[in-house]
Symmetry: C2
Subunit: 349 residues, 2 copies
């Protein structure tokens, strides 16, 4: 069985290339997840560190997708979980009640992932466990310890939190693929994330060996995404994604000591706090200036100055607000067209 | 005319997908360039900041490739030039004498590139000018000012010197492509560099819109590359390329104040000096420790400790020393096979 056949067994509605929205906390709610799944992708609800709120989103998704109920009784969406700081025991009842098709675990050690994997498989055996990692070592370790149903490989281009230092999917995917093969674990499908915003990136990820492709930044411009208008505007206006976004821990640290393990930082649109840090200003003063800007901003908020707009290097390719179904269908079509051209692909001038 | 047809007009021996070795200073000499060109790729001699030495390499290449003389009289290889700090006037006689098929300009402002472009086109009108950039803004500016025959887009995964902060080719290529199209300069072919070491990466780059693909790190393991055995061994042994390599200016600064513009740093295998910097040790002390290690190393040199092994994130995929022709042929074949599969590409488990 191929990886895609394997995935289609539990995501029977999915069309290929499989498009997945990143489980962006707060931004990817049931509204986005439902729209992406309905368009033949895999919709994800981002983690909400409040059980009642996540319950509400799952309930909404269940109601809206009742006509799509999958044979094994799973809810045809995925749910993201940020593992560090979240004791699995508190969350199991939610997964037992809603049985999402996929739970996407992220930001944990392989032991933490193991606890979550076993816990979820215990209460909802048909839920598939996808685990996000950002290095070859983490992929191998996690594959061995957890036997996940898929590994999500997050490259350095990704917006939001991720490995502070790492490769893009260009080398990460092939190296993980080879290492899993060497250790007889090539049955595990790989999902690519980071820097992919349109059909060319999706086609490239497929060539690298991905069985599915995640887009985060592109969906920030989806109508169904929960994002303040000025954030969406900043996303649409940003150009030159490798320059206008930067990786740093400052985007968390302006709010006080960051709870994030030191392994991780995050990619945001470059803002005034980042510029302060880059100029060598001590953190205490960076924070003071940040709060001054925040107070000033109560009259007229300049989010580019004081906000943290999480975005990946593909942000320069995001040009307009669209509904999620249009994004999914268009990207899938663009990718399929390029893949069909194959060796004969050559831009006519 | 397509981009590839355009390139084949001046590289008639080239086979597609076009494989190019990075002009790695010191490592890519005539021996490597000749072997890559003979295998149907585009061989490059790296820049040597000594006219006599570069002359010697060009003379060797000319002698060895005399049977391959191209109709317009160009020498069927490329030559890399590091532009900052190199006055064009001092180098023109060399390009006038040897007329390389391609001169690959790197690390300059668009104005510096312009001086070089006009200078070379003046003395060798059939030489094509390729210019390496690492951001969308630099690509657009350079395209406008220089009208290069190709832009080489270097992503963040690349080994050696490059933009300190930037996107990988996953988003860089599509964004540059769209911006050039918008400004009616889509006739300029794009060449992808950074993180590509084998067929999957090459196929991905083609999907992203590349007309040719550069590999540096992979060729560090080529028999024809000029590299001390312990450096080659470090390349072969390195795994988890996004973790074992890091970007930093320390790899230059241990030798004294770096002449490199602040825009750039370099990607190397992580070494003791990098770890010192990461631990917050002041630069003066980092340099002192480096020289202590160097002296100690005269008995038994530990290059992982004291050396700067320039390498990209693809280093974990480089597993053995091979001749350059085998690398070129194998990578081209792997890429072509994947591209042929196109939409039906799906790993069988």
């Amino acid at each position: 069985m191929t990886h895609i056949q394997q995935i289609k067994q539990y995501l029977p509605w999915a069309q290929t290339p499989l498009i997945i929205n990143a489980p962006m906390s707060g931004a990817a709610t049931s509204k986005l997840a439902v729209a992406v799944t309905r368009a033949g992708g895999l919709g994800h609800i981002g983690f909400l560190d409040d059980k009642k709120m996540l319950n509400t989103e799952l309930e909404k998704a269940k109601r809206q997708l009742s006509d799509m109920a999958v044979t094994n009784g799973t809810l045809p969406i995925g749910v993201g979980v940020i593992v560090f700081g979240s004791p699995v025991s508190q969350w199991l009842s939610l997964f037992a009640a809603y049985k999402p098709a996929v739970v996407w675990l992220s930001f944990g050690t392989s032991r933490e992932f193991q606890g979550w994997t076993e816990g979820i498989r215990g209460v909802s055996p048909d839920t598939k466990i996808w685990i996000q990692v950002g290095s070859v070592a983490a992929a191998l370790d996690t594959a061995r310890v957890c036997q996940p149903d898929a590994l999500v490989l997050q490259g350095n281009d990704a917006g939001g939190h991720g490995h502070a230092s790492g490769a893009s999917i260009i080398s990460l995917l092939p190296e993980v693929s080879d290492v899993l093969c060497k250790h007889r674990m090539s049955r595990i499908p790989l999902i690519a994330a980071g820097g992919i915003v349109e059909g060319r990136g999706v086609a490239a990820a497929i060539m690298l060996g991905a069985a599915g492709v995640v887009m985060g930044t592109r969906f920030l411009a989806a109508e169904e995404t929960n994002l303040p208008p000025e954030y969406r505007e900043a996303i649409i206006n940003a150009v030159d994604g490798g320059v206008s976004t930067v990786r740093s821990r400052v985007f968390d640290e302006t709010w006080g000591p960051s709870p994030w393990p030191v392994l991780y930082d995050g990619r945001c649109l470059r803002n005034a706090s980042y510029d302060d840090v880059a100029a060598g200003i001590p953190m205490q003063e960076v924070v003071r200036r940040f709060h001054l800007r925040l107070r000033k901003g109560q009259e007229e908020l300049d989010i580019k100055d004081s906000g943290s707009v999480w975005a990946g290097t593909g942000v320069g390719l995001v040009k307009k607000v669209e509904d999620a179904a249009s994004i999914v269908n268009q990207v899938r079509l663009e990718a399929a067209r390029r893949l069909e051209k194959g060796t004969s692909l050559d831009t006519h001038v």
